[in-house]
Amino acid sequence: MLEQILASLDESEREAIDEEELQVLERVESELVTFPSEPSHLLPILQHIQARHGYLPKLALRLVADYVGVAIGKVYGIATFYNQFRFNPPGRNPIKVCLGTACHVKGGDIILENFERRLGIREGETTADREYSLERVACIGCCALAPAVVVGDKVEAYVTPSKVEGIITEIEVRKEMAAREQKKNETANG
């Protein structure tokens, strides 16, 4: 299926697909067969691709459309309707700032601004090095611990502007440590 789709593209379009995306597409193609090929399973299929690969590449939507037998425009229409789906690769550390009622009353938007300032990106964007992505979410149901932020899959409670700094520093320190560890292993092995 993927082969046929790729063959139908212009050369310039084919060249625009990088190695990483191609790998994602190949995996999506092999994973699709675990789902019934019916339009009513579109959402579970898209959820699976989003959860596994972090975003929905255009050609993956084409694969899904062909697989369940609907038009690609419909698949895109569905995917863009729901908050959950992304069309660009996310950062390695996705940050979601809750702006539910309780978080709003307790200054959730100020927290969002602090992340924006600290990371130099706007809500909905990913940093150039793909390290962080930032988005706002409606209530995550942790209202009594407001304002709350989800970093990766961990919920951070009672976030303040200075805690924003702490969250980023913690990620940076962990990254630094991992890099050192790797270097040490490399020297040991080399």
């Binding site: 255009k58 459309a65 038009a71 425009g73 895109y76 863009t80």
Partner: protein, 238 residues
């Protein structure tokens, strides 16, 4: 739909219709005009989304969309009460507040249904009362090989999506995004070989009430004409 014929009263006028028929076409057949944008005669399941066809029905607490209100014996309908007129006017003002209002350079000028409804409701096409909403989209979206789309003219009635879905061939139009960002999308038409077949159909461009969808070819000819006229105008006074 049953064969039974029932009598209803619309704005004081008694009319007959098959029981269960949608009220809007029944009224239109009897020369009672009710404005609408999203409704088409052949639809089994009208979306009732434009909300211009709201009417009052005796005994119901709220106005209902006549395009999908089934006719029942003895129903008493009002299409011109103050409340209904007000609601329609507000709905219309809301619709035009998102419109770019460039009627003179619009392909649908003089055949535009929004212009007709404006006349009927005695409403201006550019509302002063509300702020203009400039949706965050380009003037023209043309990533389809055959079609082009002007999102700032579109009223999102969905007729194009409906007629497209009734047709087997070609790229399938659909809504994309949500809320104020909703648009008609050509997504993937660049990687869909069927998109070229749209040249043989163009049903969506014909059904569009406001000229937001056109074939690229027709649009190019139209723009050339507009330019020509503008130049002639410029030359005349000199």
């Amino acid at each position: 739909m049953s064969e039974k014929i029932v009598t209803i009263t619309v704005d004081g006028k008694k009319i007959t219709a098959p029981e269960g028929a949608w009220l809007l076409p029944v009224c239109l057949e009897h020369d009672i005009y009710i404005p609408s944008l999203c409704w088409l005669k052949e639809m089994d399941d009208p979306p009732a989304s434009c909300r211009l066809c709201l009417v009052e029905i005796e005994g119901l607490p709220e106005p209902v969309a006549s395009c999908r209100c089934p006719v029942r014996e003895g129903m008493v309908v009002r299409t011109n009460s103050d409340e209904i007129l007000k609601l329609r006017q507000v709905a219309f003002r809301l619709l035009v507040s998102t419109n770019d209002g460039h009627c003179n350079t619009c392909i649908a000028n003089r055949s535009c249904e929004l212009q007709q409804i404006a006349k009927f409701l005695h409403q201006p096409l550019r509302t002063k009362r509300l702020r203009h909403i400039d949706r965050d989209y380009p003037e023209i979206i043309d990533d389809h090989p055959v079609l082009m789309y002007e999102p700032k003219k579109c009223v999102l009635c969905g007729r194009c999506v409906y007629v497209c879905s009734q047709n087997e061939r070609g790229y399938k139009l659909d809504f994309a995004k949500r809320g104020m960002d909703t648009i008609i999308s050509f997504y993937g038409s660049d990687i869909d070989p069927a998109a070229k077949e749209c040249a043989d159909c163009l049903a969506c461009t014909e059904i569009c009430p406001v000229g937001a969808l056109s074939s690229k070819e027709k649009w190019r000819r139209f723009i050339a004409e507009v330019r020509l006229k503008q130049e002639q105008k410029k030359q005349k006074p000199s």
